[in-house]
């Protein structure tokens, strides 16, 4: 590798960072720092030492300074900033060192440890300014530190119990770090130890030296660069050498970029610029592909950290890059980019030879690129406020992403079919791309997908077609999803297969095919194994389940809907389960790490299931099921225990406790007041409350759904009415009932018949008079049921009393045993004790059961004595 290049890039990136520090983006820097601090101590230490390594290498070549300085000069403005920033950093270091010294004085190991880390973090940039040499004051302070730590350690050995554990820990950590770190500055340290004063003096000279030099050179260099740019492809590379981009040198440049990749100080933007130029220069397709592969990868590298998203511009460029790559690959069948089986030639000079079968293989992975592109967009969408125009704007990028996905799928499909490759391509890459495609489709209504598909096929060259999803069948969206999913069932396994299944079920449920989706859901048996899948799949499972529930609701299947939604909505953790926002949990303690992961899992807003609608549907269904059940249970405690929805009951109880109830404000209020009305038999009022909820408008065919709800309320109202008021009637005319609930007479008869047949209602129909005759004496009167409740409670009381006794007496029983054991030999020694606890001794017979004979005598004696 060239040192020139390294010097170049490092100083560039430093100038880049300077901007950060000086500019108003200081907050960002702070963020970066804090995130760094989060990462474990070890990590920080490692990276320090590695950067120190680099520093060591360049440090040796002092004569390189000019070169590295020169490269700085490309931008005039930056240089002026450099000075102040550099000084600032020195100040910072000084500050840290002062803190260190202070901490040293009071032996605050914790603070010492922290400050030491901070100092080490500040070091690399300073080192760069000093051409790889560590600042003198740094050396001084670490030397002092080392001695102190050593002393302290020795001291500690002698008097072990002096230090508190935290300080102890910090000190040990610090000692380790110092030992490791100081090895690298061995020479400097020795020099310092020999003659501290001399050593420090030298420093002053050095420090001031580079500063004045800079401005001189600048003007000169600037001219040359300008010249070079005018000429064509000349650019000034590291060390003042002109970098000439010619087709021949492309691969060489790529190699250097590749080698610099992943290093801490590489300036990726600069690399991207270089590669863009290279792309312009490239003449052969091979070169173009190579550059593109590298370029796209580097663009993605720009945002490798967490918490940062790709800018729209970069994302679009990456997307176009992939499109361009696919263009080339689609045009030239003899060149392929493959995951496995190919290697870049060692020798950059020669043009690569195609393999025996006439195919030129280049290592790289198109599926990975499109996957990454997809991920990046998702990350961007996660971070944008969904109610802004920006979100919509970014969302408009999705079609281009989708067309990339489809083209990548076509490409992988072709690769799989291509028998000229040295190594057959794995099935897995097709599966991955298809899965991505499916994930872009499953949550969208068919009409949207149709538009998307049409647009996509337009962008794909006419000549290409897919075997899996032929162009001709593109219009039938149901079929498309089905084909994709079935392909994955057949060819994939494990998670992808499960996900494909879930996506298909979701899609079916979204399109009102309840039975089909339910059957598939049941037949997949995923509910047994879902706990063993990764979190994202579990979220998808939850989403699917929810969607199936909503679908059932749209079909008017209240019971099915309620059971499907029970798990998700009954838990009060909908947001978390569906990954649609972070749950603010008051009492739980999530570590920042967990929270970060959770943030990463969030779904972008356009995929959300409307939570309010979900809640509304769930509560309404619960109402329709719970209110008649509650009415049926009456005051009988046995039946009241049968809870269908716990959360609904809780809400209802809360609502009933309120002294004043105003007009309903939100969905929940509406449902609660409707429940109250329904329980009182006022179905019309209930129906009004429910139907005035605005959110129903969000559902397709809201009129039909309202009609369905109206009818359900009528029927359940009738049932509730009968349950509640049956004790007050002897007979009841069916026509009267029909009138009351505005139901057909036939319907009423059927409902009543059903209730009688299931023995829910103690009554019989009188066909001749068209009446319901209630049987008396079967239902419990209020007094009776209250008496029953009382007796239940009493028995409960007794039970709990006995339990308490048991606990107590088990203690005493043991005491007895001990006493008895000792006293048994001593005749009646135990009697005194037995007398005192006679009563409890008895009880323990039931409870303890292992007390033994002695204890009983004790008890018997005790009671006998009491009787006297």
């Amino acid at each position: 590798m060239s040192r020139f290049f390294h010097g170049d890039s490092s100083s560039d990136s430093s100038s880049d960072e300077e901007e950060l520090y000086s500019g108003d983006e200081a907050t960002k820097a702070a963020e970066a720092e804090s995130s760094e601090e989060d990462s474990s101590e070890n990590e920080g230490d490692d990276s320090d030492s590695s950067s120190d390594d680099e520093g060591g290498k360049t440090g040796a070549s002092r004569f390189l300074r000019e070169a590295s300085d020169d490269s700085d000069e490309e931008d005039e403005d930056k240089v002026t900033v450099v000075k102040s920033a550099k000084d600032k950093r020195f100040d910072e270091l000084e500050g840290t060192i002062r803190l260190l010294e202070n901490a040293q004085k009071i032996s605050d190991w914790n603070a010492l440890n922290e400050n030491y880390d901070r100092m080490n973090r500040q070091l690399p940039t300073l080192q760069r300014d000093l051409d790889g040499k560590a600042p003198k004051m740094y050396i001084k302070s670490i030397a002092q530190l080392e001695t102190q730590v050593m002393e302290a350690f020795e001291k500690q050995k002698v008097t072990p119990k002096k230090m508190n554990p935290i300080a102890q820990k910090s000190m040990n950590a610090l000692r380790q770090k110092i030992r490791k770190n100081n090895k690298e500055y061995m020479t400097d340290l020795e020099a310092y130890r020999k003659d501290p004063e001399e050593f420090m003096k030298e420093d002053v000279v050095e420090e001031t030296a580079p500063a004045p030099k800079k401005p001189k050179k600048k003007l000169l260099d600037n001219d040359t660069t300008l010249d070079a740019n005018d000429e064509g492809f000349t650019m000034v590379g590291a060390g003042g050498k002109a970098m000439i981009y010619t087709p021949e040198s492309i691969l060489k440049h790529l190699r250097t970029i590749l080698e610099a990749r992943g290093r801490k100080n590489t300036d990726r933007l600069e690399q991207i610029k270089i590669m863009e130029r290279l792309l312009d220069v490239a003449v052969t397709d091979y070169q173009r592909i190579r550059v593109l592969l590298m370029l796209i990868a580097t663009r993605f590298d720009l945002t490798s950290g967490t918490g940062s998203q790709m800018s729209q511009e970069q994302w679009k460029l990456a997307q176009q890059g992939i499109a361009q790559l696919l263009d080339i690959l689609e045009e030239h069948e003899e060149i392929v980019v493959v995951d496995s089986g190919a290697e870049n030639p060692e020798d950059d000079e020669k043009a690569p030879e195609p393999s025996i079968k006439g195919v030129l293989e280049i290592p790289g992975s198109v599926p990975s690129f499109v996957e990454r592109l997809d991920d990046e967009l998702t990350r961007v969408l996660q971070s944008i406020d969904p109610h802004t125009a920006e979100y919509v704007e970014r969302l408009q990028d999705e079609p281009s992403l989708y067309s990339n996905l489809v083209r990548a799928m076509l490409y992988t499909e072709r690769l799989k079919a291509n028998d000229k490759l040295t190594v057959p391509q794995p099935q897995e890459s097709i599966n991955r791309v298809i899965m991505r495609r499916l994930e872009h489709l499953y949550f969208k209504p068919a009409s949207v997908v149709t538009v998307l598909e049409e647009g996509t096929w337009k962008s794909v060259p006419e000549t290409l077609d897919s075997k899996i999803t032929p162009r001709s069948e593109g219009t039938d969206i149901n079929n498309l999803v089905q084909t994709l999913a079935v392909y994955l069932f057949k060819n994939a396994e494990g998670i992808i297969r499960a996900r494909a299944m879930l996506c298909q079920i979701y899609f079916l449920a979204l399109h009102d095919q309840y039975y089909k989706s339910r059957d598939m859901m049941l037949m997949s048996h995923l509910q047994d194994t879902i706990a063993s899948f990764d979190v994202n799949t579990q979220i998808l499972f939850n989403r699917t389940l929810t969607q199936v529930g909503l679908c059932a609701f749209r079909q008017g299947l209240v019971y099915e809907c309620q059971t499907a939604l029970q798990d998700i909505c009954g838990s009060q953790r909908q947001k978390e389960l569906l990954a649609q926002g972070l749950q603010i949990q008051r009492y739980s303690q999530i570590t920042p790490e967990q929270e970060r992961l959770e943030r990463q899992r969030q779904l972008p807003f356009h995929m959300h299931i409307n939570l309010e609608l979900l809640e509304c549907v769930y509560l309404t269904c619960s109402m329709l099921l719970e209110i008649p059940t509650l009415a049926q249970a009456g005051s009988s405690p046995e039946l009241r225990k049968r809870v269908i929805s716990k959360s609904y009951r809780r809400m209802l109880e809360y609502h009933e406790r309120q002294i004043f109830t105003g007009p309903p404000e939100n969905t929940r209020d509406h449902v609660m007041q409707a429940s109250k009305a329904l329980a009182a038999g006022e179905w019309k009022k209930a129906s009004d409350f429910i139907l005035s909820i605005k959110i129903w408008e969000l559902l397709p065919d809201s009129e039909g759904i309202k009609a369905m709800l109206g009818q359900q309320i009528q029927e359940e109202g009738l049932r509730t009415y009968l349950f509640t008021y049956a004790p007050f009637y002897d007979t009841l005319q069916v026509t009267k009932l029909a009138e009351m609930f505005e139901l057909g007479q036939q319907k009423v008869t059927a409902l009543v018949s059903k209730m009688i047949h299931h023995e829910e209602l103690a009554a019989a129909l009188d066909q001749v008079n068209g009446a319901i005759i209630f049987r008396k004496g079967v239902e419990l009167s209020r007094l009776q049921s209250l008496a029953l409740t009382l007796s239940d409670k009493a028995s409960g009381l007794i039970e709990s009393n006995e339990r308490v006794l048991e606990q107590r007496t088990q203690g005493t029983a043991n005491a007895f045993e001990r006493q008895g054991g000792r006293g048994g030999r001593g005749g009646r020694g135990g009697r005194g004790g037995g007398r005192g606890r006679g009563g409890s001794g008895f009880a323990s017979r039931g409870g303890g059961g292992q007390g033994g004979g002695q204890q009983f005598t004790g008890g018997a004696l005790g009671s006998a004595i009491r009787a006297q």
């Binding site: 059927a750 059903k754 047949h757 019989a764 066909q767 001749v768």
Partner: protein, 431 residues
């Protein structure tokens, strides 16, 4: 044997034509019986020899003197691949309107006869051996020893045993079910005597032979041994196909269809088969693959009533009805015909008028269904009982004149039925 059935069911060469032909008849919307004909749905699950009686029945049902052309065509397509050359030839002649069999059939016939001779020769020795008591006495439970014994003393080879199987299959194809059954039986005995069960090819053949024998027994209406075979096949499915759920499902579906034959023709079988159908795995199979079986299950459960009445198994009957209602209700979205509709109307909607309407339709269907025709009267009777039973349970006072039409009965008999049906007696009848 089922080797012969399995492939043809899996990718029936002529099944398409058969289905087309059969669904052609189901066009008439006026006739509920035809509208709800299950023939096209059942054919893929049956062996072609088993389909034949069904089609024959269909033909008998047709009113016209001449059997409809498409039925003849259907039969021809069905049996074309069998060895029953004479019959197929006749059918061909009939479809083409010829007075005589086309000449090719004579030639085919010769071929078949020759092959039969050949088979007979090859297998005669083994059959003789099996008939010989001395040989049988020398066989022990040790399979290897048996094989050695037969090999050394009688020159029996594995190929010879397999010939037995092939011959059985051949005979079956010729329509000689008796001898096919015997051949397969001997084959199975020999395999069990001679080979350890680890050899998978023999395993496949063994289960195929079991299927084949089941078909033979059904076709020779030998119900008792057919039931034995059903049991064997069931065990086979549970044990051998354990690791292949898809095949298990398919085989179960076949077994369900095949066992319909003994189900409605052999009284003692009904109870066991009802239990079989209600067992979780089989009810799942019905729900997933062939919901139309619910018609037969419903009919069987309802007619079971009479038989169980005296035996104090009312509890079980109630449970069966309950299960039936649950499943009929669950599957309502996938399958419904008048029989299941009747159950639904009576027990889900409590709509007695609807139930009565459906009962009339169901009666018609039963009378035109190959399996159910014999049970039609019993069904109607039991259904009436059920209606009156649940009617009386719900009503305290009944106008007998209004109820009568519900039961589709004259007044006097209606009263009688009501009295039989009402389990809690002192209801007052208003005239």
């Amino acid at each position: 044997m089922a080797d012969a059935h399995v492939p043809h069911v899996a990718h029936p060469p002529s099944a398409e034509d058969i289905l087309d032909g059969a669904s052609g008849q189901a066009d008439g919307p006026h006739n509920p019986a035809k509208q709800h004909s299950l023939l096209p749905k059942m054919i893929p699950h049956l062996d072609r020899h088993l389909v034949f009686p069904l089609i024959q029945f269909e033909e008998d049902q047709a009113d016209e003197e001449e059997p409809p052309a498409e039925l003849v065509q259907l039969k021809f397509e069905l049996l074309k691949q069998t060895n029953m050359t004479d019959f197929v030839g006749d059918l061909d002649a009939q479809t083409q309107g010829l007075s005589e069999r086309p000449a090719e059939y004579a030639q085919k016939r010769e071929e078949v006869l020759q092959r039969r001779e050949l088979f007979q020769e090859e297998s005669s020795k083994l059959q003789d051996l099996l008939a010989d008591p001395d040989v049988l006495n020398n066989l022990r439970s040790d399979k290897v020893a048996n094989l050695n014994y037969l090999k050394e003393n009688h020159g029996v080879t594995v190929e010879m045993v397999n010939t037995l199987y092939d011959f059985g299959q051949f005979q079956y194809s010729c329509g000689d079910y008796h001898s096919a059954s015997e051949l397969l039986y001997s084959f199975r005995i020999l395999v069990n005597l001679l080979f350890t069960s680890t050899e998978s090819t023999d395993n496949d053949k063994l289960s195929a032979a079991t299927w084949g024998r089941l078909a033979c027994e059904i076709l020779t209406t030998n119900w008792e041994s057919a039931m034995e075979e059903v049991q064997k096949v069931r065990e086979n499915i549970d044990q051998r196909l354990f690791s292949n759920p898809l095949a298990q499902l398919q085989h179960r579906a076949w077994l369900i269809h095949w066992s319909l034959f003994p189900f409605f023709n052999h009284e003692p079988a009904r109870e066991t088969l009802t239990e079989l159908f209600f067992s979780p795995t089989y009810i799942n199979t019905i729900q997933t693959v062939c919901p139309w079986i619910l018609r037969y299950l419903a009919a069987a459960v309802i007619t079971n009533r009479n038989r169980n009445f005296g035996k104090n198994s009312g509890g079980q009957y109630q449970k069966q009805i309950k299960d039936l209602v649950r499943i009929v209700r669950q599957e309502g979205y996938e399958y419904s015909d008048p029989v299941t509709d009747f159950v639904r109307a009576l027990y889900v909607d409590f709509d007695f008028e609807e139930a009565q309407k459906k009962l009339v339709e169901a009666d018609e269907i039963l009378r035109s269904d190959f399996f159910l025709v014999a049970a039609a009267d019993a069904f109607k009777d039991s259904a009436r009982h059920l209606i009156s039973e649940s009617y009386c349970k719900i009503h305290q006072r009944i106008d007998i004149r209004q109820v009568n039409p519900l039961l589709v009965l004259p007044l006097a008999r209606g009263l009688l039925t009501l009295e039989q049906g009402s389990l809690q007696p002192p209801w007052s009848f208003a005239r």
